[in-house]
Amino acid sequence: MKHATIVNNQTIPVSEIPEISYDEFFELNAGFITESVETHCVNYFGYPAGEMTKLICCIADDLHHVIYVSSCRVNPTGDLPSLSVNLFCFEKFEREIHENFGIGFTGHPWLKPLRYAHNRKDKTQTIANYPFYTIQGEELHEVGVGPIHAGVIEPGHFRFICNGEQILHLEIQLGYQHRGIESLLLSRSKLSEQVQIAESIAGDSVAGHTLAFSSVWESLCGFNATEDIHFSRTLALELERIAVHTGDLGAACADVAYQLGSAVFGRLRTPIINFLQEWCGNRLGKGLIRPGNNTFPFTPDLSKRLTEVLHVFEYQFIEMNDELFSMPSALSRFERTGSVSLENMVSIGTVGMAARSSGLKRDIRSSHPHSLYGTLQHEPIVKRHGDVYSRLQLRKQEVPQSITYIRELMTSVPEYHPEPVPMGPLAPGSFAISLVEGWRGEICHCAVTGNDGKLLIYKVKDPSFHNWMALAMAVRNNEISDFPICNKSFNLSYCGHDL
């Protein structure tokens, strides 16, 4: 065997991941990706192992519900053949490895810095001298947007090359938000501090990231979460999905200057996040999910409240959607705007909601079920056209689906176990991976522990990591004035990418 085969949230000793030569590693992983569209790379990272650098690649197989983990040990000063030559989905991962360890990848299209990590290899690369792609031409002009934006949003720079109103090329330069999340997680020794850092990876995916962190942690400790813990987590994840999707529909209305939609969807998001506050004291769900513990049990009172909230919400949500999606002026802005083909989505390795809008069925809830999704029998909603309209339609349909799941879950609220079973120490010399379907898509957390039972490396991958490239593809040949609505239809995270 050249690789280890594990399932979601499983821990294996690092020694059980076969260490193969880079050539074999290259062949193996290229083979996985080219064989079928049901496999995609969920994480590919390196960490120092003595003088050498160890590379670990995790490929998820959605058809067989397993993850293939392979590893190799390479010399950081040498050059390696690049996987990105034919398989574009490895492009960002290789850039990251190059930035952190200085490993060259021959044949890689352009090894630009990715996020300017504080512990990067080449400190002469700074955000001020980022190498932009340029085209020379009399009739072309460049438009630079950001890093400071007009709205109250995160920093990121967009460089457009336009011919009049038409966008020929968009380059997205990120890294302004880099906080060093992965090193911070290693530097803290208290679990309570670490989980707070994990919660702050992306403010709009609190439940998603905390759930992934908790699953990795519990898996490493060999802790089996009780039914009531799984229940709270599943519920929180679906509430987050409803809240963010509703807010995004409102923001999309604001971008096409549809006042009514903007006002109504904005208001509809509030009862959902207010319910989260009633439940756990924070509107974004911070503090709700903790490893090995059910901090805020779901009481019958809360169940009654949520039923009421959803009853009012669902009716108004559907009514507003009927209004929006039957309005010609709005539809003319959404339809055939920012299309990304299925081929491009597959080649980029796009995940989650954006992938499903282009007909690529990638949903961890059905392919690698965690928490209570196994019992819910989730069937992903898939759209075909990959334009703004598809992405909004997907949101419109995923929200009622989530409401159905919540109602189904609430028919049998599991009994609360007040006495938490103490978690053991982290298993030494182990590797754990957790995949979670946040509202934006697949969140992947990986951890490797050293022989002393301490974290050696913690790797976070937000869905935005892949999906930013999909946005750059989406706006090509569109009008520059349609960029905001394309951007909003993806609603990607800056800090999730920058970490």
């Binding site: 438009v143 200057a257 549809y258 006002a263 309005m327 002026s329 802005r333 520059i480 349609d482 905001p484």
Partner: protein
């Protein structure tokens, strides 16, 4: 003189009424009707910050823009009362003095060297250019119908004709109303509420203006709205006595503001590439008026 007083007083509440309508229709509390004026007063008390990359054009442009709008206001009549300035062919003066102001606001936007403002300037220039034939074919038809060439005489004579001239006035009100939307950068051509530079037209051109200069530009905007409202009113009031026409003036102004607010609440903005088609379609409505006039005068066939 009367028209100047009426236009200035309508300018005080016009934008406020639009905003109020929008907030009521979308279920929000919203600011008071006088809020836009209060904002301008606040801006007038402030100093101005100039970017180091700009030249004297950028500093002069807001004043020129403001005075061009004031000049245009002076030629607008009200029923029997002439504007402060009135002469043969004053409607041509009206259109081009506004164009002069616009020209300066466009070159001042280019002067900042910002990539956004250049984009906004080119959009504004394009749409104004498309709107021009609609306005001139309309006014030319009116001049042909009445045989007069000044605003006041055209409007006064308009209602001495057959009832069909009222039908033409309705069409003309539509054209002037839409030109008003284009010239003031309102929906569905432009979205004045957006914060997204890439989709703006007029707002993006004044991104670098601040303080007193911004106050001038915004107050010119308020007056411009009321001027076009006054033109629509003029199409209908003819030689009625003042006790009817003055209330009618305010009623039509408020109605225009409420309709604008309604459009902005219940409609999405056009895709930028559809704007040009839409504005051209206005010209065809003007042509319809032109052929109507030719038929009325028996010059057709």
């Amino acid at each position: 003189m009367l028209s100047v007083i009426l236009i200035l007083s309508a300018a005080l509440f016009f934008t406020g009424v639009i905003n109020r309508t929008k907030s009521i229709l979308t279920g929000r509390k919203g600011p008071g009707v006088l809020q836009p004026v209060k904002d301008i007063i606040r801006l007038f008390k402030k100093g101005v910050v100039y970017s180091t990359t700009t030249s004297f054009i950028f500093q002069a442009a807001p004043t020129i823009y403001f005075s061009s709008v004031i000049m245009a206001m002076l030629v607008v009549p009200f029923g029997q009362s002439k504007g402060l300035i009135s002469f043969q062919g004053d409607f041509i003066f009206f259109a081009y003095v506004l164009a002069l102001g616009k020209f300066f606001s466009i070159i001042s936007a280019m002067d900042t060297g910002s990539s956004f403002e250049g984009m906004g300037a080119s959009r504004e220039a394009l749409y104004s250019m498309f709107a021009e034939p609609a306005f001139f074919i309309l006014m030319g038809s009116m001049a042909l119908l009445t045989g007069q060439t000044s605003f006041q005489e055209i409007f006064a004579d308009l209602h001495l004709g057959s009832p069909i001239s009222y039908a033409l006035a309705m069409l003309a009100a539509f054209v002037v109303g839409m030109v008003m939307m284009i010239e003031n950068s309102r929906m569905p051509i432009d979205d004045p509420k957006t914060h997204l530079e890439l989709t703006m037209i007029h707002e993006v051109m004044i991104l670098d203006n601040s303080g007193f200069d911004l106050g001038l530009i915004l107050s010119a905007g308020l007056i411009k709205f009321a001027i076009y409202g006054a033109l629509i009113v003029n199409l209908f009031i003819g030689m009625f006595p003042y006790e009817y026409t003055i209330p009618m003036f305010f009623a039509i102004q408020v109605m225009a503001a409420v309709i604008t607010g309604g459009i902005e609440s219940f409609m999405a903005r056009f895709r930028m590439s559809h704007n040009a088609q839409f504005i051209f379609a206005l010209t065809s409505v003007s042509l319809l008026i032109f052929f109507g006039v030719l038929m009325l005068l028996g010059k057709f066939i």
